[in-house]
Point group: C2
Chain length 565, copies 2
């Protein structure tokens, strides 16, 4: 008796489940049903067609139904929408969108991989206008691209500053389009903390994108949008990318359990509340390994992994389910930004006791071409030192550093483990003590109370309250830009000028990237100073943190000049 | 009573130990003695001065004695050679090389960081000629560079195909010099296995370097060298880079214990057999975490880590000593090559039960610019699945993949752990199932006996013994180049043509990179074939493996054409 496996949805999760099932069972009958005209397309690559980085729209489709049939003996029915699941009869009802014909197919096992759909709030006037686009599939991106070319569009508004919004904004900008990027929150890229994301804000602005935060779209017109604030923005086309909603209607109507996060509930083996129905991908609820709570995660890697696990489980192969941590990377013009695990917001929300370090080491030996500072934030649990998450932003290989952290998190690694990692080094690729080793050393100092720190987010408050701040950079660096009331005592003069430093009040120290201020603090502590704070992130971090808000707020500047190098 | 800490050698290890001691003890008296004119230079960056990637020779020196004094209150005595350690009196004898004066200095703690010196065998006639150079420090590289420029040198022979030899060869080649690279073994870069290193051999040859293997230098003339084979090679200058010898003379003369590998023996805390003398860096013997045996490791990262640990131990801070695994990366023209842990040679030598996979996935989504195959070899212990080591070669981010493996090794990770790693993905940076995840999946299949494999190294034997080999690539791929007696049954025709495949003899399958041949094997096994072998590495791997030896041997070719894409 051969198995009949039906798969609903033919992108990352669905195609992977089908291919895996075929490898495990040559005799199974496997059919993929896909509402759209394409299966197995590279959804993560879609935005890159807008800039021409991907030249041919057809190349986004990785495998056609004929190849599925000839290479894997898997039947693919595109333009076929599954409209109902009859769990009692173990059948699905399918509508052939080309002919309108409805038919039924029986299954032994069913895999749901319906994905998630872009949110288009009806509260926005004009949201269904013909100049409003979303980016979910090849047809969408082709439509958007054609519309822009055929109508010679010059101004586009992208609504939403997440992965898709940013990638669409960047690729259209690279194609010469004027972009307004509108985000309802006070920052783009929610996976990054507010301090780190300022680096991206600056880069987005530097590239000529009109970045509008803390505002939403109220109304969409023919060649403009009107924002909640009343502001009018020129926009001949609008891309809506404010978020996605898991496609759970089919599952709901079939009475499958839906989780508290709104995703389809699955067990350890990606089985829904019906033992013959599996669900994978963006539509399901997953278990977060760090918060120990259900969550959602719309990423391609986990979707493929879940699909494989579901197929394995059908064939009685034991499945490992570690939960998810969420690792991602994005290019934002000349900056790369990657993160894994928890950020501060998430750690707070989960009630986890944590601390963090923000360091800015060089990503390569300074002598090498394209050596740049890398902004690196590392969160760890207190008092265990267990690594909870990291964020890295810079021009260089942020993905490398984040992958190391993701690996350590998966292995329950601590700051001690991270400090000792023997990573590969050559001046072209990194530094002998890598960014991540460096972060671990600073983290251990914080954890062990070797010195105290304040974050860049507190510096304005310090300056405004006239705190005693020492800038230990050399005089020529100080003169190029410094905190308005910082005292310049270069590390090289520290020991001679120690009498200038007060002992009766807190003293805050910084340099360019906190390396020298750390040395200064250690020296001063040995001399009997006991109320010292390192400004984590130092002048580079302060510059980025203050820059964006200075640009938009017109508030008093606390720096005579910024320094981003 | 303040500590008096003397440090012998002022490069990676010495400078780090001194700086760390200062942070732990503001009152200690710390003096670094350095025989050469510079401390704290970037020795790993030296070769890059030859091509002009590093433009200014002075920039190689990261910190001068004055800065050490002003910023760290550390005294640095350059051009001062330590000639003797009086352990009973706890003093050292120093010779000021400028004046010839000899003097004595007392220590509480002594740190030896003498490094290792290039080997210059006296058996080579002319090895001390003025046209023979080594590359150990800034003076060396400056001398070599000047000699080449001032004498308008066109032909240089580099002796030794290790890190330094290859980097010198590459950087001189980039400067337009004709290079002969002479290596006594049958391969360059000993940390890589013979199958993997063929990719580098090809790249070196493609760049116009005359690569001479299995030959050594017998005699050095004014504008030529004569090899052991009798061959004469044009060479106006010669760079000797056949290896380094730990500088142990001072330690030996002081009666400190020397390990079986020839390095200074140290304990868990990098203490020598004298409890007041520490030793760190290239001169010591370290403990290999994977072989559980003493070994030597001339790398900058571990040297810095040892130095920090030694200083910490002086101040009663507990030190963690994980042993070493050895992680490294090198750029070889357009190829990057990185490795960590054990290779096959080392695993065999250590008597470790292992198996391996060789996969060649794309390093990025194929649609993206600069997407390239990455050759990835992963070793794991049998039957535990514990990761033992990996080698990665390609145009892309090999260092990223190797750092993940190095992290897993440090955490005693297994194939199961590697398979599940949630790494950051975006089409510009990788694939949803990363190279390393992919390798783990294949590794688990091998470990679990899901299918059998033969390595590319055995393919010639198979061809010559007329084994039954199926190439499952599509016809147009096959026609561009294939094994001379392989039968072309494309995966897309496999199920129709299954009757052509013999059941009474072993059948070997391959495609381009083993993805399709894996699917073919799974299908055929389900159909009752039980004597199938996947050719690990497939056509890409076979092409590289055969190419170099075909070029130099003139033997019968087993491929109608190579394919490196």
């Amino acid at each position: 008796m051969s198995n009949r496996i039906l798969v609903i949805g033919g992108v990352a999760g669905g195609a992977s489940a089908a291919a895996r099932a075929r490898r495990l069972d040559e005799s199974a009958e496997i059919i993929i049903f896909e509402r759209g005209p394409h299966v197995s397309f590279s959804n993560c690559s879609l935005p890159f067609y807008l800039s021409g980085i991907v030249e041919d729209v057809d190349s986004l489709v990785l495998m056609d139904p004929e190849t599925f049939k000839s290479q894997y003996n898997i039947e693919v029915r595109v333009n076929n929408e599954v409209t109902k699941i009859n769990r009692d009869k173990k059948t699905i009802v399918v509508k052939d969108l080309a002919t309108g014909r409805e038919y039924e197919e029986a299954y032994d096992k069913l895999v749901l991989s319906p994905g998630a759909s872009p949110i288009l709030p009806n509260s926005i006037e004009g949201v269904h206008n013909k100049n409003v686009f979303t980016v979910r599939n090849v047809v969408d991106i082709d439509n958007l691209s054609r519309y822009i070319k055929e109508n010679n569009i010059k101004d586009v508004a992208v609504i939403g500053g997440g992965f898709i919004g940013l990638e669409v904004a960047e690729n259209l900008r690279l194609a010469g389009i004027d972009i307004s990027l509108v985000e309802a929150l006070n920052q783009v890229m929610a996976p990054f903390d507010y301090d780190m994301v300022q680096i991206l804000h600056k880069e987005i602005m530097d590239q000529g994108v009109d970045l509008i935060l803390e505002d939403g779209v109220k109304k969409i017109g023919e060649d403009y949008i009107e924002l909640q604030s009343g502001r009018r923005v020129k926009a001949e086309a609008i891309v809506m990318a404010i978020g996605v909603r898991p496609e759970t209607q089919l599952a709901r109507e079939a009475g499958l359990e839906i989780g508290e996060t709104g995703g389809i509930k699955v067990d350890h083996n990606y089985r829904t509340s019906d033992e013959d129905i599996y669900a994978v991908g963006d539509a399901i609820e997953v278990y977060n390994r760090l918060t120990h709570k259900p969550s959602r995660l719309a990423l391609a890697g986990p979707a493929q992994r879940q699909a494989r696990a579901a197929a394995d489980h059908m064939y009685n192969m034991p499945v490992r389910n570690n939960g998810v941590i969420g690792s991602s990377v994005i290019r934002v013009f000349n900056m790369n930004a990657a993160c894994t695990g928890l950020n501060e917001k998430q750690a707070k929300q989960a009630g986890i006791s944590y601390d963090f370090v923000y360091v800015i080491p060089g990503d390569k030996v300074g002598l090498m071409p394209n050596s740049n500072p890398m902004h690196f934030k590392l969160l760890f649990e207190v008092p265990t030192g267990k690594i909870l998450g990291a964020q890295a932003i810079g021009k260089g290989a942020v993905d490398k550093r984040i992958d190391v952290i993701a690996t350590l998190i998966a292995m329950d690694g601590t700051l001690e483990d991270l400090k000792e990692l023997e990573l590969c080094y050559s001046p072209m690729f990194g530094t002998a003590k890598d960014v991540v080793n460096h972060a671990a050393l600073v983290g251990l100092n914080i954890l062990n109370g070797v010195f105290k720190q304040v974050p860049v987010t507190k510096v304005r408050e310090l300056v405004e309250s006239n705190a005693y701040i020492i800038d230990v950079r050399e005089k020529h660096e100080y003169e190029k830009g410094h905190l308005i009331n910082a005292v310049n005592i270069p590390l090289s003069e520290l020991r001679q000028r120690v009498d200038e430093i007060p002992k009766d009040r807190p003293v805050y120290l910084h340099c360019r990237s906190s390396q020298r201020s750390y040395n200064a603090i250690m020296a001063l502590q040995h001399m009997g100073f006991d109320n010292l704070y390192n400004i984590s992130g130092s002048f580079l971090g302060i510059s980025y943190y203050e820059y964006f808000n200075d640009q938009v707020s017109g508030r008093n500047k606390i720096l005579t000049n910024y320094n981003f190098e």
